[in-house]
Symmetry: C2
Subunit: 456 residues, 2 copies
């Protein structure tokens, strides 16, 4: 049956890719209200595909935000149950003028498929469906294990609805392990399991000064300037060495184990190559006492993403804006607690707010940091499945990103997650020219087929 | 003839206002490239009106930027020559959703005319034309003095073309005095001459970090963040007391004379009323050792107007932008020199730039600060003309704004300027709901008629 399922997958590669392109054409940008209908269309696309390949109980589940898509196949008694997770929503595509081909018109170049969501996460989520289709076909309608799929549409905006669903309906997601394909391989051809994720607190500060925009000549020197106030606040959140200055911020930060650090040292990583080809800046920044992988995987950080307000057109306008905002997020590491960090941050930010400014603090999203357990058969089978596909030993890494639901699975369902991801470091996640390396799409499908067969 | 010209002006008030509305409908926003054609149309409107009322040598003069409009009438031998200056360009109207009526559809409410440019400066510039039309009509084609008019279209973007024209063609603008109506009355009904203006250095800093936008999870802690870098720079430009920290910045700052300060103390100014009704902030900011009028008229300041870059839509996007900018201007006072201040600022800003950031500094505009001479017949006649119209003694004030050409007139033409302005403090210059108090439009026309007759 292994050969049959793999053969099916290989023979249908062209069709699989073509179907993925159809999904990628739907601009399901979850953070932009004007795309609400597109997000819904993407959910319906996924549900229709689940039904077509033979999954049961398929449902587009309404939530307070974007819908969840559920399907299952539970006819393998005595076999483990795998909960497949992915998301069909994507990040905004802006800035549009930096894309070499339109973000929602998938384009192949050099064995890569370029489109917003190609790798994060439509392409990787779709690998699950295509692995199940292949197994279903080879097994004449039967799978080697029980499966449930839960696909969300709010991962890029904090995943609030799935978090609530997991807490409120754990029985509908009952499983032995979760499969999450929303991470990347450490290097091309190097099979990789992700075992840690940073958490997240995403906020927006809004500073109000005067009641209306004012002429900077007439009022400069008397009226508060919200952009200067925000700059003063931001400058005191993080020092020039990259250290975050919020009191108590580091209190719960735990260092990785010596074994984990030693394993990271053995990864094929060249800092200078990373700086030149991935970041492209004159130097790398951040806490110099920690190596780059440590900084981005296991140290918290704070970033500013945009500062709306005032005049942002071309040219010069002499206005003191009455209002301006700053979108600020923090990435957290175990055992920092998002609620607590938001509180410490809010208190500190308020203490830094200059006279004349009325500050409001919006919380956009929270996510727990997590390090997953690796001492179980699911992780061992995953490493073996990928070794078979790639012909190399699997490495264990962390990711600096956040997948909020992984902590929810651990807390509410008491199950471990296997984060088998097939992105590459240069896939431009959240940036212009996002891509998915097409051979990795196929290798991902084969790895998942082999893994499910090993578990069966 | 005084009575005849004033009568003509009074009888034609409705038509004057209606013509002004036509001019205000042209969105001549000089800083926005997409409005280049509208700026040109406004110039042609002004030129056509000059011809219609009997001025000679009328010309729309091409420049490297927006055109100048010139006209004259030079048939009063032995009488002084007055150079009338104004500008037909306007500030951008954004944010549009804060206007109660469309910015380019002039609307009357409570004796006010609401439109972008109503008072700054189309309405005030138009008073000159209508005063001349009234005198021309009453004098059967003759004026009591010689006049030249030069109306520019780049005042809101630094006035580079008129500055060059004044330097290169002083003979075409030869005059005894300049009349500038682009300032305001200190209080409603209080005739006011402006005798000082702040200068200006308008810049834009652009910070480049990574070569492309990056995922803040993957790269947060290693990649430079241009918005944080700009915040760090801005926070070190001005301290919490409003003092600017650029080394050498205050070296040439001169205090006003004791007489001038004493006169300011006698102006009808209530700081609490100003805070509540004009600024509307919880407190006023700036250097506490200086009273509000001193701070806004005779102390330099530094403001941030907008910070383009990153994600400024609604919601959350986890991006480290590769590039971001900050529009920063400084208002200068005598004897600060814009070139020198730009140099000091640039050096300081470069010294503050964090590692990993490549900074470029654009200079949008420079303007000299100025205090004009008041010991001449032109100023005395102006005070008398306004006393006749308003029935009150004229007060002498400064303005915190900048009218770059006033210093050019003094330097290149060696003539004083009379800044007779009829705006009001709540006219919302450069802000939403800009207006011109309609009775002031008419009183301004009468004041100019009387002034020109006194000079003749």
């Amino acid at each position: 049956m292994a050969t049959a399922a793999l053969s099916f997958a290989r023979q249908n590669q062209g069709r699989f890719l073509s179907e993925l392109k159809d999904l990628l054409r739907i601009p399901s940008v979850s953070t932009l209200p004007e795309h609400k209908g597109d997000v819904r269309r993407a959910a319906e696309f996924v549900a229709a595909e689940m039904s077509r390949i033979g999954l049961e109980q398929v449902e587009v589940i309404a939530t307070g935000g974007h819908p969840l898509v559920y399907g299952d196949w539970l006819h393998a008694p005595g076999k483990p149950t795998v909960l497949c997770y992915g998301h069909y929503d994507v990040q905004p595509a802006e800035p549009l003028d930096e894309w070499h081909s339109p973000p929602f018109e998938p384009t192949e170049r050099n064995q890569n498929l370029y489109a917003r969501g190609a790798v994060d996460d439509k392409g990787q989520m779709y690998m699950h469906l295509k692995a199940l289709e292949s197994l279903m076909n080879a097994g004449e309608g039967r799978l080697p294990v029980n499966v449930r799929l839960i696909i969300e549409g709010e991962e890029e905006v904090g995943g609030e609805s799935i978090a609530r669903f997991v807490r409120e309906h754990p029985e509908r997601l009952q499983a032995d392990v979760a499969l999450v394909s929303d991470t990347e391989m450490f290097a091309p051809g190097l099979p990789t399991l992700c075992v840690g994720l940073r958490g997240m607190v995403y906020t927006e500060l809004t500073a109000q000064g005067a009641m209306t925009d004012l002429h900077s000549g007439m009022y400069g020197g008397a009226a508060p300037n919200p952009l200067i106030a925000l700059a003063q606040i931001i400058a005191r959140l993080k020092d020039s060495t990259g250290r975050i200055l919020i009191p108590g911020f580091y209190d719960r930060v735990e260092a990785p184990s010596r074994d984990e650090l030693a394993a990271w040292d053995n990864l094929p990583f060249n800092e200078e190559h990373y700086r030149k080809t991935e970041v492209g800046s004159t130097v790398l920044t951040g806490e110099k006492d920690y190596p780059v992988l440590y900084r981005t995987w296991a140290r918290p950080t704070l970033e500013v993403h945009g500062m709306p307000g005032g005049f942002i057109g071309a040219g010069a306008k002499t206005v003191i804006p009455s209002k301006a905002s700053a979108k600020i997020s923090m990435r957290l590491v175990p055992d920092q607690r998002p609620d607590e960090i938001f509180k410490l941050y809010s208190e500190f930010v308020r203490s830094l707010t200059p006279a004349g400014i009325q500050l409001s603090i919006k919380q956009w999203s929270l996510a727990d940091p997590i390090v997953v357990r690796t001492d179980n058969q699911f992780v061992r089978a995953s490493a073996e499945a990928m070794r078979q596909v790639f012909g190399k030993d699997t490495v264990f890494i962390r990711s600096g990103g956040s997948i909020p639901v992984v902590a929810d699975f651990e807390k509410a369902l008491k199950i471990p997650s296997v984060m088998m991801g097939f992105g590459l470091p240069d896939d431009n996640l959240h940036a212009p020219n996002e891509k998915f390396h097409i051979p990795n799409f196929y290798a991902g499908i084969e790895s998942i087929i082999r893994w499910l067969q090993l578990l069966g």
